[in-house]
């Protein structure tokens, strides 16, 4: 499995230092297979988002975090790398839980990343914007107002725009952090449909707390509990025949001990 891994971690540890010092991730060794959709599941506050953000070095932008271990993106180290961090991040897309429009037009939201990383002509940019807006099924809804502020779209549309914006940079891996949790059911369904189409061509790693979503979307599941990977494997196997008691309890909707005590962001 690790042969065709798009991204994998090696003894990854994450510490929050400062006032409320704690260890958020403990010795994570996990491989995410290429061109599959992997969901990271687990109770709130157990390190799902922390794991996701450590894959594209997003913790680096905050003070009071320390990472040990390594992440390999296509065999190349992400942390012990001579390449500038922005270059590495541009190879790993990230869509956050809260739908976010950059303070500019819809068009510029999609074109912003590509314009920074490559030199593109007007016609190429126009094509690119259309391609990625179509990819996330947003083109028909916005094609007549490409140059109006993106902030005026609905939250669901903004979330699909965020997807398009990330994809336009042509990342190898796409990280999605509970991307439907802020959306109404219809918008959430549209985002899910988009992800289903995208997983044909991309390696997607998605944090979610919705078991139904896991059943509908996931090829592969990683169960994280109290900062550790308890179990990982093929979605069907893991959901139907969990190997560990903690996994069995979680996927069958039982209360998890210790969680309330460790509620963190």
């Amino acid at each position: 499995m690790s042969d065709n891994a798009a991204i994998r971690t090696e003894n990854l540890n994450l510490f929050y230092t400062g006032g409320h010092a704690s260890q958020a991730l403990k010795d994570i060794n996990i491989a995410f297979p290429a061109n599959r959709l992997t969901t990271i599941i687990g109770p709130s506050g157990c390190g799902k988002s922390s794991l996701l953000k450590s894959l594209n070095r997003l913790h680096d932008i905050h003070q009071n975090t320390r990472i040990e271990g390594e992440v390999y993106l296509g065999g190349e180290p992400v942390y012990q790398s001579r390449r500038p961090v922005p270059d590495i991040r541009s190879r790993i897309g990230y869509v956050s839980q809260k739908p976010t429009a950059l303070p500019m037009s819809i068009y510029r939201n999609v074109a912003y990343g590509p314009r920074i990383h490559r030199s593109l002509g007007k016609a190429e940019l126009d094509d690119l914007v259309e391609t990625y807006l179509r990819k996330v099924n947003l083109w028909n809804e916005v094609k007549d107002r490409l140059h109006s502020p993106a902030a005026q779209l609905s939250v669901g549309q903004i979330q699909r725009l965020s997807l398009a914006r990330s994809l336009a940079v042509e990342p190898e891996v796409l990280l999605c952090d509970e991307v439907t949790s802020a959306l109404d059911p219809i918008s959430a369904q549209k985002v899910e449909e988009t992800l289903l189409q995208l997983k044909e061509d991309y390696t997607i790693i998605m944090v979610t707390h919705l078991m139904h979503q896991v059943e509908r979307l996931a090829d592969h599941v990683v169960f994280v509990y109290l900062g550790e990977v308890v179990e990982a494997g093929e979605a069907r196997t893991l959901l139907n025949h969990p190997g560990k008691e903690a996994t069995r309890r979680f996927v069958s909707g039982h209360a998890m001990p210790d969680v309330a005590l460790r509620a963190t962001a």
Binding site: I61, P86, P149, A151
Partner: protein, 283 residues
Amino acid sequence: MNRYTKQTLVESLIRLSMALVVGVLALIIGMTLYKGGLVLWNQPEVVITAPGPMYLLGGSGGFLHAILGSFAIVLPATLIATLLALAVAMYLQTDYCSERFARAVNLLLYVLWGTPAIVYGVFVLTLLIVMEARASLLAALVAVTLLQFPIIARFMDEALRSVAANLKESGYSLGLTRLETMKITLKAALPGLTAGVIMGFARGLGDGAAVLFTAGGGINMPNELDDSATTLPILIFQQASSPYPSVRDDAFAAAFVLMMLVLGLIVVSKLIANHFSRYTQDH
């Protein structure tokens, strides 16, 4: 006491305070607008006429020198203070420095904000004495810059801080550098940043104490950087303390002009903020 009586009592006190504050404000503004308006109605030319040689002694002419002096001092001062404040506010964000350092600097900025303007005036005056220089347009410009800087810096820091963390995360994860991400943050914070600049500008325009000892206060038209200059607040001070009734009346006209300028600035800042807030997400 009955809950409803308590509510009636507290709310009556709130209404009373409100009426008191609004009443006093209306009185000040109303009197200035009325008396100043009367002067300007009868002799509108005072706004565009340079003062005659005996202007402050009841002589002929207007106070164009103070209007121009105000702008010659406050416009460049605001520009310099804005650039300095922007750099400081950017640096104080978590992208660049630790929270502890930012808190310490912000505390100092609050102290500077609360420092009476006369202190900046006396500080620059001391420098002038040490350097054996005279009070001048340049000296006043420095004093006003010092006065404006902490105000603008605090406003800008708050504006940048209020930009949602996930906007920055979105920027960084597109592979943007710290500076490119900061550009997006600045754009998202533009309404707040503009408000900061305008607040600093209005404060600089309306302040008398910082320029009282530093500008010189002559009745010449501002010409060179090391010339003596006068601003509207200095002029109002000079006019109001004059024994000549006609000069004292002119003080209201000058106050009218000053008030209108500040009002205009605030309206402009609202318009700018509205324009840019179309790009800011409110959901």
